[in-house]
Amino acid sequence: MSLLELDDVKVHFPVKKGLIFDRTVGHVYAVDGVSLSVEEGQTYGLVGESGCGKTTLGRSVLRLVDITDGSVNFDGTDLAKLPAEEMRTFRRRLQMVFQDPLGSLNPRQNIESILSEGMAAHGIGGTREERREKIRDILAKVGLPANALARYPHEFSGGQRQRIGIARALVLEPDVIICDEPVSALDVSIQAQVINLLEELQESLGLTYLVIAHDLAVVRHISDVIGVMYLGSLVEEAPSDALYAEPRHPYTKALMSAVPVPDPEVEDRRERILLTGDLPSPANPPAGCRFHTRCPWAQDTLCATERPALKDVGGGHKVACHFAAEIAAGTVERTAASVVPATREEMADRVVETPAE
């Protein structure tokens, strides 16, 4: 059994209206039936565009949002149904690292106080001196100098603050760390430092990660398995290399084709699938396949009426698309969306084409 198993998790936020009577007029279907498993010692990467429900899903695991339905099994216990007091002990074992290191650190607390707070709350580390010893050890592990203890968050650069955020999680000796956009606020040269640090820590401490990010290249680099989310549900899941080698879901294909690669040779040959329009509102998701309003392969049957389930297509590769097999075989044609020629030269005499190959 996997260390962390989500089964059909739903998080629906009520939309209220009215000044006196809080009438619920609808729901934001932020997470709408997600099942996934995170293996011990591995990294599961959750990718998708903003608003697709990644953060909400991560928070639901820690019960920082109410789970509307479904189960979150951690080490054999369903957290979704756990009474609040019992959840406390699990909180220590499941930690979170946030996008904005400064926003998540109290500016008036020094680093020692920030790090020892959680330890005290969870009864870790015994005496003050023992705690300090432990904190020193963790600071060294995350690459911060010992003299950081008495300093305040604003005295550190962005990358160092993210190291503090990681240290704060580590002092509690967690099993799982949920990293929500851990590097997206950082400059590229610093991103790489933090990514490498996360990987080293995983190696030396046997940590299990759920990494949430909108940057597909980062997720691909760090994850063993990747889940692609669209409007509250998983549309595809596969081992990192397999997903890159052969994205099967139309949304994944479009997403991947949109990621610029820092290499002109690649850029000039990269075929882009441009999606039209915007993400629909999760308060009013389209019926049927949630992607059908923008899907370049959408068909007249099924797509608009029936919601596809996530199905295994072999090799641990799962896809939620009625026509995944036909698209892979090339027997279903692209119906809309412009394919953009790769080069600037081609651009000049560009025609928006509907390929009929």
Partner: protein, 389 residues
Amino acid sequence: MPLLSVDELSITFTGRGRRDVRAVDGVSFDVDQGQVVGLVGESGCGKSVTSLALMGLLPKKGVKLGGRAEYDGKDLLTLSSNAMRDMRGKHLAMIFQDPLSSLNPVIPVGLQVTEILERHRGMKGAAARKEAADLLDRVGIPDPTRRLKEYPHQLSGGMRQRALIAMAVACAPRMLIADEPTTALDVTIQAQILELLKELVDQQGTALLMITHDLGVVAGLCDQVNVLYAGKAVESAGRRELFAQPTHPYAHGLLGSIPRLDAPRGEPLRPIRGSINDRIDWADGCAFAPRCDHYTLECLSGTPQLTEPVGAGHGVRCVNPVLTGVEVKTLGVPAEQAVDAAAATAPAEPAEPKIPAQAGPEADGKAETDEGDAAPEAEPEAEKKKDAS
């Protein structure tokens, strides 16, 4: 003759009781018609203030400008405010990272576009409204007549950025400056906006100065690239030359530290150590020296000059560049710990005072934080920042 020729541009912030900050320190580049020139570098390297200086949007007080920025024979840096206002719109237009703060929140989008058409192109009433709808249509906003009546907050991020581009191109400017125009957008929307910009360049011959921290965007879009570090261009080259042979240790390091979508899982990243705060003054030597693997004693004797060690037109500001196949003379790497410790003792760059907002909607876009620059999206809810424990 290039449309815009920037020569040794320098920008210094002066202030009573504060040390002068030389944000831009002798940057030179040209932009031709129909050409895309990139300014790339990490937050704080001087990209935004460069664009604001070119647009005449920096405050007069507390800012010292040096060098020249010749546009069509006129030096943009010395033009009067009135003359500069005339330049904006017909000649120069700018797109900011955050469209919401560049649009007036209480005026419908359509009115903001028609206003520009009335002011700059002398169009009136129904004609201006029709042209506005055509513009929105051209930048890919569906149902433009309805959208014209909507307020900025009613549009999605991508639609807002399109509206902003529509406003920028309303007067068919010959030159467009785009400061991180897609940084706040999702990648599929970014792809749409980049296509739109390409079309403008290819079909209208617009000159585009593209400012970004994203080397992927640069690789696909820019003809000519300038890599900035601490206010100076450290490498300038055609995009193919730059990516084929990144020669300045910083540019080389940047490319080594980016996870690439097409790299196999597990391929290690080679980060640059330390942070932008670990720098020395250019006057004393190479500002990148404390982070540089190629550092030699020579690096500390004055500002390295731009040379062309790997070919004409490929400028590199480094005394010991990365030359493949050539023995590298290094002093040995300065201990990583030393750099880290230095970084922790030196107080991190104080939160910088932002340029006071200027008149006009265009001035508002740069109210971003240093790190926000690299952040794809400032997510709204505050609770997510709370500790989980």
